[in-house]
């Protein structure tokens, strides 16, 4: 005899913006989630997950309503939407596959700053410089951000519009807000994205985005659309999708709001004197340009530093530790970095801008270093934290802070100082921590100074 069980049909489990009638009847005064486990426990695993997502969407509704989103828009936005578990930066506990990370942190500097890619983009950029000369002149005049930098952002973000944004914004933002590492931030972005649909900025069919929900030619997050987008052509719309002028002006406006200093470069490739190495890397060790010059730092290819920046604060940047070029970065490097929190991103944009303006490759080639997997970087950061090093954040990303602390560890332990996190350094740290933390292993320089210049975007 076949027992017929009423299976929870997909249609009943589809996320909607308002409460499930059955739940509402059972517990009109209690948050619906209270009944979640009992409501979903009868379902198979996949359906339990689907139901939890539906609950998540339901709980979103009051805030969406608070932002002026109508129920009809909200239901339309979520109709048939299921979470996309294939996108990066999600936390899926127990799933064996390695967590995907952003390219900025999984590739080596040489891979990320791929020369043929940069060459191709700079050629395109020079053509676009002429094609959009009028808009770019207007942007420089009205917003004060140089044309080459604005074009470089466009080139980096979408290869001048060639990259298609493959995802539906609501789907990826909801997934990130539900399961991501940065749920609160993405929840806000999701609500703003719903508002964009309500305001008819985009339709559901045209609401394409990156896996992180960034949209348009210069990849704006929904909240940035509302706060930073710019209507250059004066048609009453901030069209970062279809209007190159609007998209570039919006990017320029974002840089301006994030602190762009007109008339200054992002930084310079330099050669270091023997007395300086990667240990001096990082915004924590910033000092005026004239002091760096006094220490013997010179610009590559025999060029001079501009005379009017001698009092500007600059910091040393060695993205591959001692295995590649060194840079003196100015405040505008950090401003570009606020567009996307990565040194390599900012360096890419800076170099591409220089190339579009007629510059070329770095003088010092990148060494053949290997990028330690994120999980190992995380372990290394945890070990260093345990040893008393001022690790800013255990995030699996080998940024400036981590690199210079690796250098400090190497110096304190009599190892070769190259500031590059490797399996060998991690193994050495394991042995050190197994013996117990030793005061001798403490960093020998002050790393506790403020990191005000490195705010997280």
């Amino acid at each position: 005899m076949i027992k017929t069980v009423a299976q929870p049909k997909a249609v009943g489990l589809r996320p909607r913006c308002h409460g499930w009638r059955r739940v509402a009847l059972l517990a009109p005064l209690v948050a619906t989630s209270v009944l979640l486990a009992s409501a979903i426990s009868a379902l198979p695993a996949l359906a339990q997950s689907t139901e939890a997502f539906r609950q998540f969407v339901t709980e979103l509704w009051p805030d969406a309503q608070g932002m002026g989103v109508s129920r009809a828009t909200c239901d339309m936005a979520f109709r048939g939407v299921e979470p996309d578990l294939s996108i990066p930066d999600l936390v899926l506990p127990g799933q064996a596959k390695e967590v995907k990370g952003q390219a900025e942190f999984t590739r080596t500097p040489a891979e990320y700053l791929n020369v043929s890619h940069l060459t191709r983009l700079s050629e395109q950029g020079r053509a676009l410089l002429k094609q959009h000369a009028a808009e770019l002149a207007k942007i420089e005049q009205m917003i004060g951000v140089p044309r080459h930098v604005v074009l470089a952002i466009w080139g980096r973000e979408t290869a001048f519009g060639a990259h298609r944004s493959p995802h539906y914004a609501i789907q990826v933002l909801a997934t990130q807000a539900w399961l991501g590492r940065r749920k609160d931030m993405f929840r806000t972005e999701l609500l703003n994205a719903l508002k964009m649909l309500e305001d008819k900025v985009r339709t559901r069919d045209t609401m394409n985005a990156s896996w992180a929900g960034a949209m348009g030619l210069t990849q704006f997050m929904p909240s940035e659309f509302y706060t930073l987008a710019y209507d250059l052509d004066g048609d009453g719309r901030k069209d970062i999708w279809g209007s190159v002028g609007d998209a570039l002006a919006s990017a320029a406006n974002q840089l301006k709001v994030k602190g762009w200093i007109p008339g200054q470069d992002w930084g310079y490739e330099v050669r270091l004197p023997a007395s300086l190495n990667c240990l001096a890397e990082g915004a924590d060790h910033a000092r005026p340009m004239r002091e760096w010059i006094k220490l013997g730092v010179v610009r590559t290819r025999g060029r001079e530093f501009p005379a009017d920046i001698m009092d500007a604060q600059a910091f040393l940047l060695t993205p591959a530790g001692s295995y590649g070029p060194a840079f003196l970065a100015l405040e505008n490097f950090l401003v570009i970095k606020r567009y996307n929190m990565s040194d390599l991103y900012a360096l890419f944009v800076g170099n591409l801008a220089d190339r579009i303006a007629g510059g070329g490759d770095f003088e010092t080639p990148w060494g053949s270093v290997r990028q330690l997997p994120a999980k190992s970087v995380e372990q290394l950061q945890e070990r260093m934290q345990g040893l008393g090093y001022s690790v800013a954040k255990v995030d699996g990303k080998a940024g400036m802070n981590t690199r210079s602390l690796v250098g400090a560890y190497q110096k304190a332990n009599g190892l070769k100082v190259d500031c590059w996190p490797t399996e060998a350094v991690l193994t050495h740290m394991r042995a050190t921590t197994a013996r117990g933390p030793e005061p001798a292993a403490k960093p020998d320089h002050d790393t506790t100074r403020g990191r005000s210049g490195l705010g997280v975007r």
Binding site: A31, S33, A37, I40, G94
Partner: protein
């Protein structure tokens, strides 16, 4: 409440368990706790040397004990050799968590718990209202600690603690502190010497409080002027509720739920300090097999595998941690949580405990720590205690050996390490 308390409360519950299970092998945690008492003299003195307790007088006086009370309660003190023997015994064979839970969560204990839930319904409702702690958890602690007050121990608390204060040189300050707290309880008339009886480690009453826990957490719920955890069920259960609330109990949340893990699961996610939301676990394929747990989607839940990858899996809330503060052994907290669920009418565990699970004896645990240390994994010394550091070392070696990274000190792993002592 420092770590000293945690280990002693462990001793207390072990004793309660041993009493309850009359004749059964003592649980794993008993051996852990016993290792802390290794410093006790194994001689069996019949009487205390004169003046041993007199040395306590200044400290007792400073804590408000009168001379007459001090003399009244300590004058005829003689060492209890049985307490010395119990405190120094180190059982080699211990119970795996499955057997421990099964022995505590019996149909009888569930049934009596339900009857008492009905009998004390009004009191329990009032306690829930006042402290926000689930009544079934209070009943379960009562059931586990003293078989609902039928097995609270029969040794004089003062004599036991005085014996330990004299005989356990290493932990004398701890025992002295408990003894003074016990004297204060008597001086204040909270109970009488005849009723102030309990376990060999000085835990007494329906829910087995040691004197310092009594001082800090006991309450007079029935407002008769006495905080009577020995003769008044309302006071005992309210005191327990108060203790759990102080330990971080969050009203309305369960202790945890049993879950089924998907195939191919990475067991390293059972390492401590990796709580994730229920949504996250569900999206990763974890399934809730039993119904009616009240869980918020966004609540942080920690994965716990009491018997390793082969046994049942649980997602626990911070309320599980509160129960651990009562007695710091995973099997204990699980037994309490599960008994509470069963009293509340919920189903038995879905997953079976691994039949081959054999808890390591003391010597084997130390051997495992030595083998792990030899492989370069720091166990924080060789003490026979499978604490967080040893379990982290087990995970590290499991990772190296490409075994399920569950941190469980299984006999199988010990054999593997013996056969292959160095990588």
């Amino acid at each position: 409440m420092g770590s000293a308390y945690a280990s002693v409360s462990r001793v207390r519950a072990c004793v309660a368990a041993a009493v309850l299970l009359s004749g059964a092998a003592v649980m794993a945690a008993a051996a852990l706790a016993d290792s802390r008492l290794a410093a006790i003299s194994t001689e069996e003195p019949r009487a205390a040397p004169q003046g041993q307790l007199d040395a306590l007088w200044p400290a007792a006086n400073a804590r408000g004990i009168s001379r007459s009370a001090f003399e009244r309660y300590t004058a005829d003190f003689i060492l209890d050799p049985e307490v010395v023997r119990l405190a120094t015994s180190q059982p080699e064979h211990v119970k795996p968590p499955g057997a421990y839970v099964a022995d505590l969560v019996t149909p009888e204990r569930v049934e009596i718990g339900r009857a008492l839930a009905a009998k004390h319904a009004a009191t329990l409702a009032a306690i829930e209202q006042a402290y926000g702690v689930d009544r079934h958890v209070l009943l379960a602690i009562w059931g586990v600690e003293s078989a609902y007050g039928t097995s609270t121990g029969s040794r004089s608390v003062v004599r036991s603690l005085a014996t330990l204060a004299v005989a356990d040189a290493r932990r004398a300050p701890f025992w002295r502190n408990e003894l003074i707290a016990a004297l204060r309880i008597l001086q204040d008339g909270q109970t009488a010497p005849e009723t102030f009886v309990g376990s060999w480690a000085g835990a007494s009453g329906h829910t087995q409080f040691i004197p310092s826990a009594y001082t800090a957490h006991a309450v007079d719920f029935d407002k008769d002027g006495r905080r009577d955890i020995w003769g008044t069920v309302a006071d005992a259960l309210a005191s327990t509720a108060n203790y759990l609330r102080t330990s971080g109990w969050s009203a309305g949340a369960p202790w945890g739920i049993e879950v089924i893990l998907p195939s191919g699961f990475d067991y390293s996610w059972s390492a401590p300090g990796r709580p994730q939301t229920l949504s996250q676990w569900l999206a990763a394929g974890v399934r809730i097999p039993t119904s009616s747990a009240n869980l918020q989607l966004g609540l942080p839940l920690q994965l716990v595998l009491p018997a390793g990858a082969q046994g049942p899996a649980f997602l626990v809330t911070k309320n599980f941690r509160a129960i651990l503060r009562y007695n710091n052994a995973t099997a204990y907290a699980l037994a309490v949580g599960h008994l509470a669920d069963r009293i509340a009418g919920k189903a038995a565990l879905m997953a079976a405990w691994p039949s081959a699970d054999k808890a390591l004896g003391r010597g084997e645990r130390e051997e495992m720590q030595r083998l792990l240390t030899a492989r370069g994994h720091d166990t924080g010394g060789v003490d026979g205690i499978m604490g967080d550091q040893t379990r982290a070392a087990i995970r590290a070696t499991q990772r190296t050996l490409k075994l399920a990274e569950d941190g469980h000190p299984s006999f199988e792993l010990l054999q593997r390490l013996r056969a292959d002592p160095l990588p």
